[in-house]
């Protein structure tokens, strides 16, 4: 096992990796940019190396700086987290050349699967069903329009690189194609440094169901059951759970097999996720393989009792998987809610700023993978994820109740969060009934406004807080000026 690893990431996922390293006695090196001098991953690691300005391209995406930091500190391996360089084959090659172990699949596997075109071809070749659409990338809008007409609208423009909901646009008619293509391409270029796009069929009503896979260097490949990730806003998951509602043992068996086949066909090593769309008739289509630890991996850990980061390190250090498929048994039900700095009342618009106060929910069956703290200034430069709240209970019904309870005790002041929104989603009939599809939020919550049933109490609390107010004083460390609330100064804008 490694003695020391570098974590080429920030926020909650850097913390998550550090956490397991501490359990394993592995030393940790954090890297940080100007915006992150007081970030939580810097506080938590054994060492921290400054790698440059806040702009991702000059710090967290700067491959040479990161590899140099690993070499200087004697870190034997790099854990990329998700996002940033996690699925960057060039980075993995650089690591390979410099003798630093990359904790993830080999560069060629990342390249093949990261290119959605190649991955679709691999899957087609090994008998895994894929979504109808292009099998080549395309820059010419006219050709895109022609292809879209073959597949039939609506279609989805997707970046061939990356993930995380970036570089995606739904197109419902040829007139929208040009702008959608250029927006998706630009977003992809910014997010992944690669603006190539293609198209595939868009399913209006489908479930997003993915399988966690693990493969060691000896060819042992297993899956760790499914995750249901249909509830998404702006094409980005916001609630994930396992088991999936409506999943039958037969379908699980079939999809799990397909996931393992997909992993084997691509020569997969380490932890990965095979994503599928499942239509209303339980037909499933390969979407992509995420060649990294997934944001929503904790729900799998909660029901299987497995520590996926530990297994990532074990596999990367050349150890054999000590569990096989029959050891993977789900117990109970787990749900994750992503807590972003964003405003659900305003189309989930980002809400950076200072966390004035944070109180994390705690209790049996509650886990909060959190990357911020009271007083931390959430930078404008990075993804808006603050934390992930995960609950585990014996049944789905109880898990929902526990999640609602936990959310009601999750106090985050200073930035906007979707906490109240999530409570309403979890309370809604369609969610409770398991009627979740990728269009869930547009269908049921597009005009969501918070219920203000406790507004009277809030007014009373305002008065009482004023009466107790002398307890609050300016503190020396609160030197940062409070940012104005965005919506007070709302200019003329559109997304």
């Amino acid at each position: 096992m490694f003695k020391k690893i570098l974590i080429a990431n920030r926020g909650e996922i850097a913390l998550r990796v550090i956490n397991t390293c501490r359990d394993m006695g592995v030393q940790t090196v954090a890297v940080y940019s100007d915006a992150d001098k007081k970030a939580m991953h810097v506080l938590a690691a054994d060492q921290a190396v400054y790698i440059g300005p806040s702009e991702p391209s000059r710090s967290y995406l700067h491959m040479d700086k990161i590899i140099a930091a690993a070499r200087e500190t004697g870190a034997e391996a790099i854990h990329p987290g998700y996002g940033f360089l996690a699925e960057n084959a060039e980075f993995v090659e650089k690591c390979e050349k410099q003798g630093v172990v990359f904790i993830g699949p080999p560069s060629n596997v990342i390249r093949d699967l990261g290119d959605k075109i190649t991955s679709r071809k691999i899957m087609l070749g090994s008998g895994v069903p894929v979504t109808p659409g292009l099998t080549s990338t395309e820059a010419d809008t006219d050709i895109m329009i022609k292809e879209a007409e073959k597949v039939g609208y609506p279609i989805l423009i997707k970046a061939t690189a990356g993930g995380g909901g970036k570089g995606i646009r739904i197109v419902r008619s040829s007139g929208e194609m040009a702008e959608a293509c250029s927006a998706a391409s630009r977003e992809a270029q910014n997010a992944f440094g690669n603006g190539k796009i293609y198209l595939e069929k868009f399913f209006e009503k489908a479930r997003h169901i993915e399988f966690q896979v693990l493969a060691d260097v000896f060819g042992n490949t297993i899956h760790l059951l499914e995750r249901e990730c249909s509830v998404q806003r702006r094409h980005q998951k916001i609630i994930e759970e396992t088991p999936a509602s409506g999943m039958t043992p037969e379908l699980r068996e079939k999809m799990g097999q397909a996931a393992v086949t997909a992993a084997k066909a691509s020569g997969y090593v380490n932890a990965g996720t095979v994503e599928f769309l499942v239509d209303e008739s339980d037909n499933f289509y390969f979407l992509e393989v995420n060649t990294r630890l997934q944001v929503e991996h904790p729900v799998t850990e909660m029901i299987t009792g497995v520590d996926l980061v530990r297994l990532q390190l074990e596999i990367a250090s050349g150890n054999k998987l000590t569990i096989d498929q029959k050891d993977i048994i789900g117990r109970g039900h787990a749900i994750e809610c992503r807590i972003y700095a964003e405003d659900p009342e305003k189309d989930f618009f980002p809400s950076p700023g200072k966390i004035e106060f944070l109180k994390e929910p705690t209790g049996p069956g509650i886990r909060n993978d959190c990357g911020v703290y009271s007083g931390f200034e959430v930078p404008v430069d990075y993804d808006p994820i603050l934390s992930k709240l995960i609950v585990h209970a014996q049944t789905r019904e109880r898990a929902i109740a526990k999640m609602i309870k936990a959310l009601k005790g999750y106090v985050i002041l200073g930035v906007k969060t979707p906490v109240a929104f999530l409570i309403d989603v979890l309370t809604s009939n369609p969610f409770v009934n398991g009627d979740v599809y990728t269009n869930f939020i547009e269908t049921h919550f597009s005009d969501w406004q918070p219920d203000i049933s406790d507004a009277d109490l809030a007014r009373i609390a305002f008065v009482i807080d004023g009466m107790c107010g002398s307890r609050k004083v300016i503190k020396r460390i609160s030197t940062t000026d409070e940012a104005a609330t965005p919506w007070q100064t709302l200019g003329n804008w559109r997304q």
């Binding site: 950076p352 004035e356 404008v380 985050i412 002041l413």
Partner: protein, 167 residues
């Protein structure tokens, strides 16, 4: 004491009288509230309102307080205090006439130049916050008299990114 407190667009009068140590009586419209309270920390209070325990978390914000109750956050403002500072802000609130970002952001591109004629709704600056792009548009037909920012600049709400002279 009477307060006039604003949440979202609604201003309601709140009548408050003290009722012994750590106790008040409040009236909002028809509703009466017997409240006892305990300050637990700088940001936390415990209230008992008509017999029910309620935990409240508070943070001071510019011109108001963020108040968290039971999973929901309310931005509460004192309407009387607000009125004193109203004139200064009125123009901005009423009808946006300036190109300013809705949140702290980074400039991605400026597709117009000084001297350009723009039409209402035309993209003039593209900014990004937390990886999400926002296109700021011309608020009216006009001529770009000055571009105040360049790619990579960090900008704040209130910053005027592009000056446009109305046609």
């Amino acid at each position: 004491m009477e307060y006039r407190l604003k949440i979202k667009e609604e201003i309601l009068p709140v009548e408050v009288e003290t009722a012994g140590e750590g106790k008040i009586k409040a009236n909002i419209g028809e509703a009466g509230f017997d409240v006892s309270y305990n300050a637990i920390s700088d940001n936390r209070m415990h209230l008992v309102v008509n017999g029910q325990g309620i935990n409240v978390y508070v943070a001071d914000k510019k011109n108001g307080k963020d108040i968290f109750i039971n999973g929901k956050s309310y931005f509460v403002q004192d309407a009387d205090l607000l009125e004193q500072t109203k004139t200064r802000k009125k123009g901005l609130d009423a009808d946006p006439t300036e190109v300013t970002p809705p949140m702290p952001a980074v400039v991605i591109s400026v597709p117009v130049a000084q001297g350009d004629t723009v039409t209402k709704g035309q993209a003039v600056v593209i900014v990004s916050a937390m990886k999400m792009e926002t296109t700021l548009t011309a608020p009216f037909d006009g001529i770009v008299t000055k571009v105040n920012v360049a790619e990579g600049d960090k900008v704040m709400p209130g910053d005027i990114l592009v000056d446009i002279e109305k046609l």
